[in-house]
Amino acid sequence: MATMTADEIRSIEERYPQVFQRPLYKRFAPLFLFVGILLYLIYALWFFSLPQVLRESRWERLPLFLSQWVSYDLQPEFRLDQPEITPKYPRFSALGENPNPDWVIKNAEGTFSVLIDGPGKSVTFDKSKATIVANGETVPVSLTDGKPVISGPVPDWITAHDDEVVAKMGFAGEVRVTVDRVKVRKRFLGWANFVFDTRSPFFGKSAGEVVSLIVSGPELKPGTSNLALAGDNIWNNAQWQHGDVWTKLLQTIVMAFLGTLLGGIVAFPLAFFAARNITPNGLLSQVLKRFFDFMRSVDMLIWALFFTRAFGPGPLAGSAAIFFTEIGTLGKTYSESLENIDDKPREGIKSTGANGLLVQRYGVMPEVIPVFISQTLYQWESNTRGATIIGAVGAGGIGLKLWEAMRTNSNWANVFYMVLLTLAVVFIFDNISNFLRRRLSRTIHDYNRIQAEQG
């Protein structure tokens, strides 16, 4: 590239003063913006006392909770102070009423072995001693001195307290040994009893057995067909509550659908009066526009809380909250697109002597209806997502159920199940709405093209 002479540089600078000699405030605007944002972030650090919050947060819980999304554990307990050692399982354990898992072994010499992850991670014990095996190491624990005593070095995966020895074996589980009991937690990947709960007569049967029972088995409960019984058992599964979850999910969908549709129906006529090019009355237009702003600014949360108080908790309150907010949002977007229309078709219709209503019908609607539908679909899509959250304040739907399941911090698998369902719903509705909107935008595009061709 040829080098520029000083004259050439100067001439370019003179030709484009707006590029080379910008006012000071414009030249330093990015710097000011940057410094401003930096200062704000420092302020936010202080405002939320972030360092302290982070110091006090318990990040070790995160992997634990996340692993609980896709796994469950069984916690057999062995009392050593009884005449005979027998495993005891908590009530409502995932194994049902008569658990006899193959990973709890009663050995010939009277000892018990629990295989937490095969023989490589296991514990073998009787009343006098326990032997914990993991990570290639074998640790004997003597129980005869009134407290558990580890003979030899203590590996780092074992914590020896005064009265308890805790051996953590990662995801697989853990063993807790005291002089009078051995407690094991064994973790399994997957969701326990997802189809049939432990009270169901189909519990513990393989898929093939269940199918053959349904097709040709004897009636398990007199008077009901096995198919109806199986359906009822799945729907009323006590642990997963499929029936309740799906009903609540439908409520969420209905809330978004009803609220958006009713909002659209009410906003549609109002938007014509709010659009300044269609309603000559400036005052009416201003009043309506401020009304839309009001409905939008009184947040969906406030509407939801009010209607929950008025109608009681449930999807009716949620639908009403979305309905009121949508009058504002859709009214605003509708009237703004009305103000952007081409005036020529209206003038054409007017020149034929048509009355006001007919002018709107044939001069305005063909142009805006696809746009309106598209905007409504967009809101429907975003309300389907929003309905989950307002549910949690009592407005019905899956939100409340999610929130309740999370509050206890123990039922993360159920939470994940509901999250998956919600994700599926959102994806499906996104795609439906996107598909319809693409079709519509083609219609809008064609309309514009035809108009352009005709000049």
């Binding site: 944002i37 972030l41 936010a44 405002f47 939320f48 919050v53 982070l54 947060s57 318990r58 990040w59 995160l62 909770f65 409520q251 209905v254 809330m255 659908f257 009803l258 549709l261 702003d293 009001f294 939008r296 600014s297 009184v298 947040d299 969906m300 949360l301 406030i302 809380l305 009010f306 108080r309 008025a310 109608f311 009681g312 908790p313 449930g314 999807p315 009716l316 639908s319 977007t333 697109s337 952007n340 746009v371 598209s374 905007q375 967009y378 997502r385 989950t388 959250i389 307002i390 949690a392 304040v393 019905g396 939100g399 999610l402 929130w403 999370m406 939470v415 994700l423 994806f427 996104d430």
Partner: protein, 318 residues
């Protein structure tokens, strides 16, 4: 188009008939679609009404009862509640304990409780929008079809953003509430993650519509990916990015109020308490403050967006 003045031939007749058939078919489809929509609407209404704790027509006559507790005995209490001034009606109950919430900053100077809570909510919204913006910008350049450094990377980032967008905010908030304790930080994480997905999608759609000539020019002089994005693409899209970010601030203020109501702190929590206990003056003060703040933020953001990108800022979903 030419109009024939002679008697219509057979062909024109056929065309007119076909046209009429087509029109009546279209009308039939429209009627069917509207009928289906109305049927679905009434079915939904019935379903929502049956599933609700109170039913619509039973509760309708009592709507005004519900408004009656909202009307305070003394309208001045609304101002007192808003600015934490002692009320003459104070009997030691939570309904009128306005001065208790004062947040003293400097000697006798205090910020009224509700303003402090509103500030928390707005700060949550601003910080989470900032988080969303910072991550969404690089993601959007990776996810745009015309700018992506690698198609596989593009797919991964796109799916990731879709997941962030669809994941219920309330679950993220609940999960982090158990880790960093309930409060604004969990709300920031939840809304911030959601904003990454939401802004990222809008941003990469903008990126896919840019003028590629500047990019080609830089490519011709041997600029690498970062240089091309920084000097050819970013200047084109930045006004639009800022416009959508401002829109996101509006949405996030609302989201942070709602997350606040389910344990994220801020004004939402206070509002929920106040409404559920039926504190008229406090509720009105809170609603007034929240309404005014959202209104001001909306109007300011609309003004700024109009300055940045003109009327284009208001064409959504079309």
């Amino acid at each position: 188009m030419t109009l024939s003045v002679t008697a219509p031939s057979g062909a024109t007749h056929q065309m007119a008939d076909a046209w009429r058939r087509q029109i009546s078919l279209r009308r039939l489809y429209t009627v069917l679609a509207v009928g289906l929509l109305l049927a679905a609407m009434f079915a939904s209404m019935r379903f929502a009404d049956e599933a609700n704790a109170g039913h619509f027509f039973d509760r309708l006559p009592h709507i005004l009862d519900f408004l009656s507790w909202l009307v305070p005995k003394d309208w001045n209490d609304v101002w007192r509640a808003l600015f934490d001034i002692a009320s003459p009606h104070d009997t030691g109950t939570q309904e009128f304990n306005f001065p208790l919430g004062r947040v003293y900053v400097w000697g006798g100077f205090y910020i009224p409780e509700y303003f402090e809570l509103m500030l928390t909510t707005v700060n949550v919204a601003l910080v989470s929008t900032f988080i969303g913006f910072i991550f969404a910008v690089p993601f959007s350049f990776i996810a745009a079809r015309n700018l992506t450094p690698h198609p596989v990377l593009r797919l991964v980032v796109k799916r990731f953003m879709e997941l962030l967008r669809a994941f219920p905010e309330i679950v993220i908030a609940g999960l982090f509430a158990a880790i960093v304790s309930t409060g604004p930080i969990a709300a920031i994480i939840a809304i911030g993650l959601h904003s990454i997905g939401a802004l990222g999608k809008l941003f990469y759609e903008i990126n896919e519509n840019i003028d590629m000539r500047a990019e080609e020019g830089l490519r011709a002089v041997g600029a690498n990916w970062f240089e091309r994005v920084r000097f050819a693409d970013l200047p084109q899209v930045l006004p639009n990015f800022m416009s959508y970010t401002l829109l996101r601030v509006e949405i996030n203020v609302r989201a942070s109020t709602i997350i606040g109501a389910v344990g994220g702190g801020g004004i939402g929590e206070e509002l929920k308490l106040s409404i559920s206990r039926g504190f008229g003056a406090k509720t009105l003060a809170l609603v007034l403050l929240l309404f005014t703040t959202i209104f001001i933020i909306d109007q300011f953001s609309a003004w700024l967006r109009r300055k940045l990108v003109g009327e284009q800022a208001f064409l959504m979903g079309a």
